[in-house]
């Protein structure tokens, strides 16, 4: 899987993060507070995001959808107890959903910089083996200031340079503290390959002096 990821071409995409916030004790529903556009660059197997732009996002957010998140899921699922969960309706054929549990001391899922135990879910399209969805449901410690810190990332086919790749399309990151809920909805679009385009222009017919 990791090898396959590194075989992806160099590209960049637009990441749109819409942030919703809710004060549980004062507001009946979440309110939209911010919409942020940033560029994600994937070059030579590494994902680069503008740190300044990422710092503007409040609440729990996702990063590493182009590699590290998949790596985390694969690494932890391989060690964890991967079990069958269910079939789920897909656009053409049903998707297979598996679940695994990871304790904090074996986890690579970090919340607030600390490894956190979690329940992971992997959704796969059996017709081609492509991962369609990853879910991380945190088992937050009892003494934490957060009680919920969950993320989900959905993948889908994107055509780049005449070939189809499985790329992240949409994500949700939600965290609950005592007072506030932060919900970040992330979408990826405008995928572009890095490349050089050359255009040859004819010499001017009349030389202006």
């Amino acid at each position: 899987m990791t090898t396959a990821l590194h075989r992806q071409p160099n590209f960049y995409a637009t990441r749109i993060t819409t942030t919703y916030r809710r004060n549980f004790w004062k507001e009946p529903t979440p309110k939209k507070v911010k919409r942020l556009l940033s560029t994600v660059v994937y070059r030579n197997g590494n994902e680069q995001q503008d740190a300044k732009e990422m710092a503007k996002i409040q609440g729990l957010t996702t990063s590493g959808e182009f590699g590290p998140i998949l790596g985390t899921a694969m690494l932890d699922a391989a060690k964890g107890n991967l079990t069958w969960r269910r079939w789920q309706e897909g656009p053409v054929t049903p998707f297979a959903v598996f679940r695994y549990v990871v304790t904090a001391n074996h986890s690579h899922y970090e919340v607030d910089g600390k490894a956190t135990g979690y329940v992971g879910e992997i959704t796969i399209d059996p017709s081609n083996g492509a991962i369609q969805r990853l879910v991380f449901l945190a088992d937050m410690p009892k003494d934490g200031r957060l009680v919920t810190a969950d993320i989900a990332v959905e993948y889908g086919p994107i055509e780049l340079g005449g070939r189809t790749y499985t790329c992240p399309l949409h994500g949700i990151a939600v965290s609950h503290g005592f007072t506030l809920m932060w919900l970040n909805e992330i979408s990826f679009n405008r995928y572009h390959l890095f490349g050089t385009r050359m255009r040859i222009l004819p010499a001017p017919l009349i030389d202006h002096q």
Binding site: W25, P126, V174, F178
Partner: protein, 219 residues
């Protein structure tokens, strides 16, 4: 006739017993108190209690995570130790049938105890994806604000997938209802989707897992 009546009574009581137990997770508030209860990925409960005043002086506020929390379907038990104020407290309460009230007692190790009734903050009604589709059909022709307001009063009990969401968004009258449905869908992300009957063997992966601990498509 008596046998039939008895059967009907038994059938009715069984049907009532099959009603789902309301979930204790949520935001609860009472007199000078707030309680947040959430479920972790593994299904365990976490809680944080806020009291505006704690004995003996009733001036010190408290906000502390629960050391232990149990819920057996109706009775909630919470213990909080290692308090900044220096002693433990326990809360024991019963969840009402409609799932919107917990009636109980808060007891301190100092020997004091007081009744504490908690109400669900901003209660919402549960709704399935199918019921949501029907609701939006019924609301067809209503104003954007009315549809948004109705949507805000519900919480999905099943995951609303991207295809169904896109289909439903097309039927909405404006930006307020679109935002409301987007939020409903986003909050449903971590729930199981509605059950679908497939035309093939229900679980071939299980047969595979008897031979291998790994899923067939992950190599």
């Amino acid at each position: 006739m008596r046998i039939l009546a008895l059967f009907l009574v038994l059938f009715t009581s069984c049907a009532c017993g099959a009603q789902p137990v309301p979930d204790i997770a949520g935001n609860w508030q009472g007199r000078q108190s707030k309680l947040k209860i959430a479920r972790t990925g593994s299904g365990d409960l976490r809680a944080i209690l806020h009291l505006e005043a704690t004995p003996p002086d009733y001036r010190t506020p408290l906000i502390a995570p629960a050391s232990s929390i149990t819920f057996d379907g109706s009775i909630l038990q919470i213990s909080i130790d290692d308090l900044q104020v220096g002693y433990s407290l326990n809360y024991s309460g019963k969840l009402s049938v409609d799932g919107n009230t917990i009636s109980g007692t808060l007891s301190y190790l100092t020997g004091e105890s007081l009744p504490l009734v908690l109400f669900r903050a901003f209660p919402t009604k549960p709704i399935t994806v199918q019921e949501l589709e029907v609701l939006l059909t019924q609301l067809s022709g209503r104003s954007d604000s009315i549809v948004a307001s109705r949507l805000h009063s519900f919480q999905l009990t099943q995951q609303l997938d991207a295809a169904t969401l896109a289909h439903l968004l097309n039927s909405l009258p404006g930006p307020k209802s679109t935002d409301a449905l987007d939020i409903l869908a986003a909050e449903s992300t971590f729930l199981d989707p509605p059950q679908v009957k497939f035309q093939f063997s229900p679980n071939p992966a299980l047969q595979h897992s008897r031979q291998s601990s790994h899923a067939p498509w992950i190599t």
